[in-house]
């Protein structure tokens, strides 16, 4: 039944279209566009679109806004109480049996494409550019007339080239062999990742060997050009993960590496930093909304201080009594982590809290057609580098750093030389904790903030420290970046979970070969 109706409608439409551009959208056409299977509706839409009839615009807009109902071969635009018959524009009464028009995703895309097609000849350049972007995924032969007309009037060179590509991607599904051939060759110059998938898809369907060869050549050309973007993308996400790992592990490198304290609550210090950021953000939102973009400037010291204070309290109350008993420290700090998690859960709820990025951290910079670097990730990379620089300067240039190194090398001798080792311990532990807090502040910009935040990082950050070598900041840096990139490389190959497992196994194997990590401290002690 519907098929018959569709055929009949198509015939009417074809006749109407043939009759010339002058005639406006007829009620029958409107009903064809609104009722039937998606294929029939899209075909009808493109037939009307071919006439370039501007009366189509309000109708398509109404369809997209779900304001159209159909009944007995007529479409009605319903806005509140007001009912208009589509096509004729007459006010009318809605029949009892009128049904809503449901648009699936494909139909929506086609409708949006139709609207965009009208904008291709708009006077505004950005509007035209947006229209081209929208049509990228829906271009087909039905829009060819529009595309050609737009290309002939387009004056902007860049847009003209993009229109040509668009025309080519519309033509690639043409029934005519020579057109497909030309389109395949044209598409070779495209920089767009979607062109690659389009070509691959059409290549699978193509039967003509000549066209097939041309398509394969173009696909090859496009993919070679895109491959660089992908490689750089993996490198960037790897470095980004590495910088987060570095921030998480740097504090641990100080407390574990330099002081020999296993801090299982390190992840919770990250979490405290993230919650401090969230608190600062909430305060700014309520009291200083005009300065909201700069809340980060206050959140960084706040997260450092919050975590450092908690760290100092931990060191003074528990860890101090357990120096030289690493296994006990491990269990006690695990207990602390349980308490910290539960405290945060009681205070702020078990749900994740939302930390908003400042506006200057959202968005990203497009480096290659298929490579966009988000600003927040870039900011974290820079931030991690700055924190690292700060820590290195602190450890190597300041008096406190000298004391920390002295106590690390020989606690008793340092004490004999007049260093207050107990105080140095507290400072160093607070410093490590504070750096974890900074890591939490950075994490809050890219991920969820919840009571369990720290748990996800504790194994990873220990792996970084173990791999890098105990007592070595340089090792930590290499290990963090290396693990980050390796993780992302394997992820692209085998998926996230298997990548993680492979990384863990690789670390275990690596430690077989070099039990002291990448950079071993030289020594002759039999006990390590």
């Amino acid at each position: 039944m519907t098929v018959l109706k569709g055929l009949l409608g198509g015939l009417i439409l074809a006749l109407a279209g043939w009759a010339g551009n002058a005639c406006a959208l007829s009620p029958e056409q409107a009903s064809r566009v609104a009722d039937g299977s998606s294929d029939e509706r899209i075909e009808a839409l493109h037939l009307v679109l071919g006439t370039g009839d501007v009366t189509l615009i309000p109708f398509v807009t109404a369809l997209l806004a779900d304001e159209v109902k159909v009944s007995a071969g007529r479409a009605y635009i319903v806005r509140g109480e007001e009912v208009v018959e589509a096509g004729s524009g007459k006010a009318s009464k809605l029949p009892e049996d009128a049904e809503d028009v449901v648009n699936n995703n494909r139909m929506r895309q086609a409708l949006e494409g139709a609207l965009a097609a009208f904008k291709l000849t708009s006077a505004d350049r950005t509007e035209r550019a947006n229209a081209i972007e929208t049509l990228k995924n829906t271009a087909d032969e039905g829009l060819l007339g529009f595309l050609e007309r737009a290309a002939s009037t387009e004056t902007d060179g860049d847009l003209k080239a993009r229109l040509e590509l668009l025309r080519a991607s519309a033509l690639i599904s043409s029934g005519d062999k020579s057109r497909r051939l030309a389109a395949a060759e044209l598409l070779a110059s495209s920089n767009d990742p979607s062109t690659g998938s389009l070509l691959a898809e059409k290549l699978a369907l193509e039967s003509d060997p000549e066209v097939k060869a041309a398509m394969a050549r173009s696909l090859d050309a496009v993919q070679t050009r895109l491959a660089w973007g992908e490689r750089l993308g993996v490198l960037f996400t790897g470095a980004s993960l590495g910088s987060i790992l570095l921030l998480a592990a740097l504090g641990l490198a100080i407390t574990y590496g330099l002081m020999g304290v296993i801090n299982m609550a390190h992840g919770e210090l990250l979490m405290i930093g993230a919650y401090a950021t969230w608190l600062v953000q909430s305060v700014f939102k309520t009291y200083l909304p005009q300065a909201f973009d700069w809340y980060i400037a206050a959140a960084i010291p706040a997260s450092f201080l919050a975590a450092a204070l908690v760290g100092a309290a931990m060191e003074r109350s528990v860890i101090r009594w357990l120096y030289g008993r690493p296994l006990e420290t491990l269990l006690a700090t695990w207990g602390i982590s349980l308490i910290l998690m539960q405290t945060v859960r009681s205070l702020f709820g078990a749900q994740n809290v939302g930390v908003e990025n400042p506006s200057w951290l959202s968005g990203g910079v497009q480096v290659l057609p298929n490579l966009t670097l988000p600003y927040n990730r870039i900011a974290i990379l820079v931030f991690a580098a700055l924190v690292l620089l700060g820590v290195v300067l602190l450890i190597s240039k300041t008096r406190l750093g000298l004391f920390v190194r002295g106590v690390t090398q020989n606690r008793r001798m340092a004490a004999c030389m007049g260093v207050n080792t107990a105080r140095v311990d507290t400072y160093a532990f607070s410093l490590g904790s504070g750096i974890a807090g900074l890591g939490g502040c950075a994490l809050s910009q890219v991920g969820n903030v919840g009571p369990d935040l720290g748990q996800g990082y504790i194994v990873d950050s220990f792996m970084v420290v173990v791999l890098g070598g105990v007592g070595q900041l340089a090792g930590t840096v290499y290990a963090a970046l290396g693990l980050g990139v390796l993780n992302k490389l394997l992820e692209g190959w085998q998926g996230a979970v298997l990548a993680k497992i492979m990384v863990l196994i690789l670390i275990v194997i690596f430690i077989q070969k070099r039990p002291q990590g990448i950079f071993a401290m030289k020594g002759r002690s039999a006990e390590t």
Binding site: V318, G324, P326, L327, L331, G335, S337, T343, S525, E527
Partner: protein
């Protein structure tokens, strides 16, 4: 920096460190010890079944089914704690990965129990429900033995044992010890958990195994079966305790304790610590796996949550709370912590983690020898 001798946190035992070691006692247990074992066996195999099955429900002496399952569960935990006590208390190896072996044993038993469901599942298929759900047509290769009880019980012992052996061999050979070893065992457990969470591995993914119906063709969810499983678990625990006791009193056990106190010296004296550590480590893993296999039919579910790093670290605290320098200590600790847990999570659910956290801290700071140490000190001063 050379860590002090007490790096493993074991305060020197009177007479064991410092002065010459006392000669090993010849008897497995003192007279009082045998009495204790006898009382435990009698309590488990006579008192519990009688109070649960034969004393009528209204009576004050009746032991409800809930407490029988709780007892069975805690007995399984006690086996794990004992296993940890052997390697941590007596050999100085702290494993945070025993949750993995426990869960592997549990999964081994779970596979058998899944096969016992037969075609009584939701989908009336010979395959377990989750496989039907994933649209699998036949059992994956590692389920080959799962229809035979004997075969599967062999796997319960062999798989965790082999894993522990291979992992331990590489770890001990390259002299990974102390916290390094602890952290790597934790990483191993974490990796395994991620693996078991996946559907493709054929272990039911997130949901694991549940809805068991029968064991050895006998219905599993009956009061009688509950008591039988609980009694078996208790007897296994007693057996393991006697075995551990024999181990720590043998010459082999003395070497283990020497490794704990000064591994390098043991090495320089001509022993190869790798063989000692590897054997006790593997044995401990197998004990844990047996506990897991006994645990699953009693609680009726196994899922990857049992492998989480938190579960492994909790096992260590059982041993620490009770006092890991003895064998009875870990068992006492498992009962104390899990008893407290089942009471807290009912009475004040939100405070359980505070209590557990405080327990971790208090025990390490104030009770390095655990509850048993506390009792002994009192006994000494009297």
């Amino acid at each position: 920096m050379t860590p002090p001798r007490s790096a493993f946190g074991i305060p020197p035992q009177p007479g064991a460190a410092g002065g010459p070691a006392e000669p090993p006692p010849r008897r497995l247990l003192a007279g009082r010890g045998w009495t204790g074992v006898l009382v435990a066996v009698l309590f488990l195999s006579v008192v519990v079944p009688v109070l649960n099955l034969f004393v009528p429900e209204g009576s004050a002496l009746h032991l409800s089914g809930f407490y029988v399952s709780l007892l069975g569960k805690i007995l399984c935990y006690a086996i794990c704690a004992l296993a940890i006590g052997l390697i941590w208390g007596y050999t100085g190896i702290l494993s945070l990965g025993h949750g993995l072996f426990f869960a592997l044993g549990g999964y081994g038993m779970g596979m058998y129990l899944m096969r016992q469901i037969g075609s009584d599942g939701q989908y009336k298929s010979n395959l377990p429900d989750f496989m039907v759900f994933l649209n699998w047509k036949e059992f994956p290769w590692h389920w080959a033995w799962s229809d035979s009880f004997i075969g599967q019980m062999l796997l319960v012992i062999l798989v965790p044992g082999l894993l522990a052996f291979v992992f331990g061999y590489f770890a001990f050979r390259s002299r990974i010890k102390g916290v390094y070893f602890s952290i790597i065992t934790q990483a191993l457990t974490f990796a395994a958990m991620l693996l078991f969470f996946r559907n493709e591995t054929g272990f039911g993914g997130n949901n694991g195994f549940t809805d068991f119906k029968r064991i050895l063709d006998i219905p599993i969810a009956t009061p009688g079966m509950r008591v039988v499983l609980c009694v078996i678990t208790g007897l296994v625990l007693v057996g393991f305790y006697l075995m551990s006791r024999a181990i720590v009193q043998s010459k082999y056990g003395r070497v283990l304790q020497a490794i704990r106190d000064a591994e390098t010296r043991v090495m320089f004296t001509g022993y190869n610590p790798v063989a000692y550590k590897l054997s006790i480590w593997t044995l401990s893993a197998v004990m844990c796996a047996v506990a897991g296999a006994l645990y699953v039919p009693q609680v009726g579910i196994i899922n990857p949550g049992e492998m989480s790093p938190a579960a492994g670290i909790e096992m260590a605290i059982w041993a620490a709370v009770g006092g890991r320098a003895t064998l009875i200590g870990p068992i006492v600790g498992a009962f104390f912590v899990n008893g407290a847990k089942s009471w807290f999570t009912v009475a004040f659910p939100e405070y359980w983690l505070f209590f557990l956290g405080a327990l971790f801290i208090a025990v390490t700071l104030f009770l390095p020898r655990g509850i048993i140490g506390l009792l002994k000190r009192k006994g000494d001063s009297e």
